[in-house]
Chain length 416, copies 2
């Protein structure tokens, strides 16, 4: 174990303890101060970012990757706006979520408290440094950040501004710590700090997430992928279905909540698929269909077994005609990733049953899969989406960065 990583953990634990006791006003103030700090540090940030960009283009990074790395004016504005938004969200800590009376007079309740120390391991986008730190602080936690090596200078600069603001607000600077090395071995050591880090949240590609899961000794909150479905029921409003499918697929195809497979009831396939295919064609979406789909949409390419489980993240869509809602739900359970599934129907009973029986992190009736997002669902913020079921399932906001302890008020109760 590297001494510097171990020390990082120990300092985080101490700082998190103090952070957990800070009241809502203090937390709101420090986040607003950070927003001001980023604005004031604009030119320092640009300078550090330039260093990263120069090194990245030397290493031959492509346009899209360079873009993700760049902290342009708009990205900085968004980071600052994000801090201000989180600053004014309600404080989750200290909320008593429930309270009840026991027959012996003991009053028992559950009170929301911070998780403790949160580790975040992420890839290129340096805005995660600010966004993730803001949420962790608002929920009273300490945070250890480990960004991608290509964004190292940007992250160091951003973190040092955040730390200075913590200090100025009378809070421990160690509430936010950045792993000060791009050494890969340091990540492995970080993943062994189960005594000092309560949960690890990896954000990035599937490879990074698998690496964290395979090596972390603390719990991990993660999502691997989104193979999301829309099922167009026999009793669907076909105009609405077309709009929902189009929005689910093309509004932003590269995101985890974009539709990857369309399932259509055989009774409406003839009326629906040809017009839907035309709309998709106009948007440049390539279809890969089952035999029945190809009969109805002659220029559609044949779907092979892998297509049903594919997360294209692109202008490609798998399409299958099914005989019933049951068959659609079975297809989702077999090939899906329990991320997001929607039904389009006018039938109350089917909607009712779909909501109950589909066990994905978000189940929708008559709305776009693109709503699986903390902001869109009204959580106010999002630190990621969990597709594992423990602790959090679906988008994670401030509440998911807390836990609850039991509290009990007595007047001398004993156990007999």
């Amino acid at each position: 174990m590297r001494e510097d990583i171990l020390s990082l953990g120990k300092r985080a634990r101490r700082a998190a303890h103090r952070m957990g006791l800070a009241d809502g006003t203090v937390k709101g103030d420090v986040l607003a101060r950070m927003a001001d700090g980023l604005r004031a540090g604009q030119s320092l940030i640009a300078e550090a970012n330039e260093k990263d960009l120069a090194q990245a283009s030397e290493r031959g990074l492509s346009g899209a990757k360079l873009d993700r790395l760049r902290i342009g004016g708009k990205v900085l504005d968004e980071m600052i706006a994000g801090l201000r938004e989180v600053a004014v969200l309600p404080d989750p800590v200290g909320e008593i979520t429930r309270m009840w009376l026991r027959p012996n007079g003991l009053r028992v309740g559950r009170m929301r408290i911070p998780l403790g120390v949160i580790g975040i391991i992420y890839e290129s986008r340096p805005n995660v440094t600010v966004d993730a730190a803001a949420l962790c602080i608002k929920a009273g936690n300490g945070v250890i950040l480990r960004g991608g090596s290509e964004a190292f200078h940007s992250n160091v600069c951003l973190a040092s501004i955040l730390r200075r603001c913590l200090g100025e607000a009378g809070l421990p600077e160690d509430v936010v710590q950045l792993v000060g090395t791009t050494d890969r071995a340091a990540v492995l050591d970080l993943l062994k700090l189960e005594e000092y880090i309560d949960v690890m949240i990896p954000r990035g590609g599937e490879e990074l997430i698998r690496f964290v899961c395979d090596n972390a000794r603390m719990p991990v909150l993660k999502h691997y992928k989104g193979v999301c479905h829309v099922y167009v029921d026999e009793l669907a409003d076909l105009d609405m279905a077309e709009r929902i499918c189009l929005n689910s697929k093309v509004q932003r195809p590269g995101t985890c909540n974009a539709m990857e497979t369309l399932l259509v009831h055989e009774a409406v396939a003839g009326a629906f698929l040809p017009r839907m295919a035309e709309s998709f064609r106009a948007e440049g979406v390539e279809l890969r269909g089952c035999p029945e789909t190809r009969r109805l949409v002659p220029d559609c390419r044949e779907a092979v077994e892998e297509d049903w489980a594919a997360e294209y993240l692109d202008y490609i869509l798998a399409v299958r005609v099914v005989g019933s809602m049951e068959e659609a739900m079975e297809h989702m359970a077999t090939y899906g990733s329990q991320h997001t599934e929607a039904i389009v129907t006018r039938d109350f009973k089917r909607a009712h049953r779909f909501i109950r029986e589909v066990q994905s992190s978000l189940v929708l009736v008559n709305a776009s899969t693109r709503f699986n997002d903390g902001f869109q669902l009204g959580l106010g913020a999002e630190i990621g989406i969990s597709t594992s079921r423990l602790h959090a399932f679906g988008p994670m906001g401030l509440e998911e960065l807390t836990t609850t302890k039991f509290i009990a008020f007595g007047d001398g109760q004993l156990r007999s």
Copy 2:
């Protein structure tokens, strides 16, 4: 990977899916049927248990260990009563815990669903086979049980009765599966089934729990130990304090929620400790004290550093005099295990602050630490106590065997 263990996981996943859709009446009925089944199978159970007991005494197991293994009439009665109690608890599945309206008209909510498949690895007591299965079933989960090798015949017999009852109720028998071998390598394989087991709950000694944590690829819900404190404040009712301390220590010293360290404010130490020591002496409790304690209680043995972190689980108690509540809280944070801490005080402000600032799974004012228990706190049942913070912190009842998914009702909402 052993084929039989892999097949166990696959069958559990399929069975859990069907179990998750069973409604509350069906679940209540099957648990009541199991209670009848155990009663009817009484002699078969006794026979299987005798085999285990005979083998255990051949291997030279001691009295207490043999006792834990024995399914006497009272133990069977308790298992049956437990099944009937869980049968009539409210169904946690399907509960909509919250619902809100978004500005675009989307109605968003959270609905409680089963966790999926739960693995339980436990040591000698065969009653865990029945108790744990009952809770997992009531929460709509599948369960894979791996009991101690010394209770193998008993566990096989109990599990086969439970499985038969599932089948008779029209549910898949594979909702309950017992690892059909005492082979240690099978446990390692089980711990690799992260695709089929959503959470692993080890129940037993610290060695077992460490082994599970070190090797499990799925999340683990666990508690290592309980180093529980009572702090007797300067403004305590000393009579009440004496009763609470006595109850916390001696009502059942071998449990994780028994007091292991007593902290006393210096202003009342002189009035409190000598009489408290006398009560403890009468109950056969050995005290190990700080210098000030030893000045006040001359026959008290000296506490060494290890005593402050010790979980005695015995008639031994560490005692320390502190200068303030802050010092007491710091002692708890330094040496405790975040399990259970109590304050005895008449002062509102101190109680208020203690409740807010002590971050243990149960924080009590004026009541015994022995209340940290699912039944005592009113959860209706308990599958264990978690001292890790993710997902559950403190006693885990039916709710902790579920998660929530997001649900959303729209009338054509799109994301823009």
